[in-house]
Amino acid sequence: MAAPTAARALRPLWGARCPLPLSPHQAVPRIRPIPEGPRHLHTTPACLKTRAARVRVGKGDKPVTYEQAHAPHYIAHRKGWLSLHTGNLAEEPGAAERAVEDAFLRRFFYGTFPGVLADEVVLKRRANLLVVCLVLARGLPPAKLYFLVGYAETLLSHFYKCPVRLELQTVPGKVVYKYL
């Protein structure tokens, strides 16, 4: 009796194709299985889905901003870019450095403005100047926001040796595009 139930339990392990009757080690799971089973290619049904930067549809209670709601193939159609620089043009140097700087800056702002960042940070580079555009929720009083702005501007200027300017926009709360 144990054997048929064990067999049934084990069948999903092998997928639709269970080529051989089960050996005792597979049938009775108490015994540690010796790795000796049939040697086939393990194939599961192919999962040919891209998952990059997409929010999966859920129950309908997850608020999602415009930025998050659109997949990457909508860039240049319905979305803009989050980071604008000339490093990716033909024969221009420095694309990799800009990418690393972008990653650092996003983490920096995520930490410096804890809980009040309402959307992704937009970085614009014009010649030497780095303009950082933030959308913040009104969680902190304006004096504290100004403190953080002065701090971030000076620290980043000294770190990256280029003038850094912060341009803020405050919104009452996160701007929800739809619920997924």
Partner: protein, 591 residues
Amino acid sequence: QDPTAAHYMFQDDPFLMPRNAANSRLFSLSKESGRNAAKYIIKQFPQYFDKTFAEPNIPCLMPETLTPQIEGVNEEALKERIHLRRVKDSVDLFDQLVQAGTPVSLETTNSLLDLLCFYGDGESTPEKEEQKEDLEEPGVQASEQKAPKRQFQRGSQSSGSRWRENNNAARIFKIMPERNAHSYCTMIRGMVKHRAFAKAYDMYIDLLNERHKADVHTFNALITAVPYLKERFIERWELAKVFLNHMAQQEVQPNLLTFNAVLKTLRRCGGVGRSMSPLVIKEMEALDIEPSLATYDHLLFIFYRGADLCPSGIISEVLDDIQKRSFTPQDPDDGMDFNMSDNLHCLSLGEKCCDLRDIKLAYQLNKAMEKGDNWKFIDMDRLNAYWSKFFSLLCMMEQIDVVLKWYKEMSPSLFYPTPKNILDLLQALDAANHLEVIPSVWEDMKQLGFNRRQDLLEELLSLMSREQHPDEIQLAFAKCAEDIKAVHEQTGREQTPLEWTASALSHVALLFSRAGRTQDAWYVNMMERFQQINRIPTDQVMDEFLNCAKQTNCPDEAIKLVKLAASLGLPSSQRLKSRTEEEFVLSEKQK
């Protein structure tokens, strides 16, 4: 220039824009303190910020290296520490050198004396590090950083560090094997800076005995010390003349700062100052030295100190001069003493004496401000004071539409009106009979945070309720009155409710009754007055209320009013009763 935008240092967002002067100061200071926090971190961890990958290298974005590099007890190390302004280290090193017997050159000793005399005996703190050794250089360079400029300027003004007996500088001076003129001069300047004036004078006598020549800066310092050396005005002037004669004897050419120092001394010389200062100005012109803003400031102070003085034509001459030139800062007093505001202060004094000319002077001054770099001489606080005085003058002297135009242009962007400004504005509106603008003024008052000030509320209410107005205006007034009532009754929310005063209450009731809002008026009558504070309503209020009740045809209200009057024991209750009986159709029961 956008009249609705705040200063460009603030973010352009309605939540982040400052609405009144206090907020504007708070935000600019918090931004500055954020910058200071970042600078502190850069100073603490310079190893993360010193990679030079910018082409060309930007030195102002690199962390400062303030640790001395050269070790060992030798003269080079001493020179380096002096250069880095490390007072205590240099003194220690000097002592070590002297004890070890190595001769220290005269120049190095002189530069050590310079350092010590400049900093008194205290260590150079980060605040004072920004000061330049050359006293002529202005502190106006950091003009974007308005707040710390004000802080360290005040710090240097009141550098109350006293010159102690036998401090390091005096000690080193004594043990110097040879001294030249420079040593004496430095000591004199240091003593004057740190307020040891008698000692400075003695040191000067020593210098003369040694037959050295003093330089221009020393003489300037001595002249500034004159008011502290003598008491009577004549003696002060005589001493200043003595110094000037010595200067001429030693063939030292006076410069602008000399004349400014003389004028500063004359400021404290009363009547003598007034007679002597034109002569000083003539000397300056003869020597081809252009007067700076501080010169004008001293002049105006000398002539306008008393409130009862009749202004001479000097102020218009001064303004003409100022208009022709744009100024560069040349004297540390240029920025500090806020010449412009003193000008305007004199204007408001002058307006007491003579009338018409002064608004023109104010416009002239305004134009002079906008020319070139002149606006940089004032920092944010005083700029607000300047505009506020200007606006008061405008309200008093100009027509109402000009006033309103300036108000709209200036109000959120250039300056934040003070309560006095709002009062002036209300009076101007009253004088011009333009009272329908009052509801918008009330909106501005709310935004500025003045909606709890008793004086402003009284003024506003009395203006609104003085006369009968056409209907829409009356409705608008009633809405304002409702806001004011809400202010008085606000409970909880960390603000204690304002106390009602009798006049405020009566005005509010009047306004409500005129607008036909009987319920509100009755509510005001019943609840507030009767129970809590025992104020007596005036007859006018009673009459108005009766009128209102007649208009809305509520005889019950009228009867309630009569009962109230009777219970309060008012003398007019009889009259009210008869009026009620006449004007209303009453049923028997009501009678």
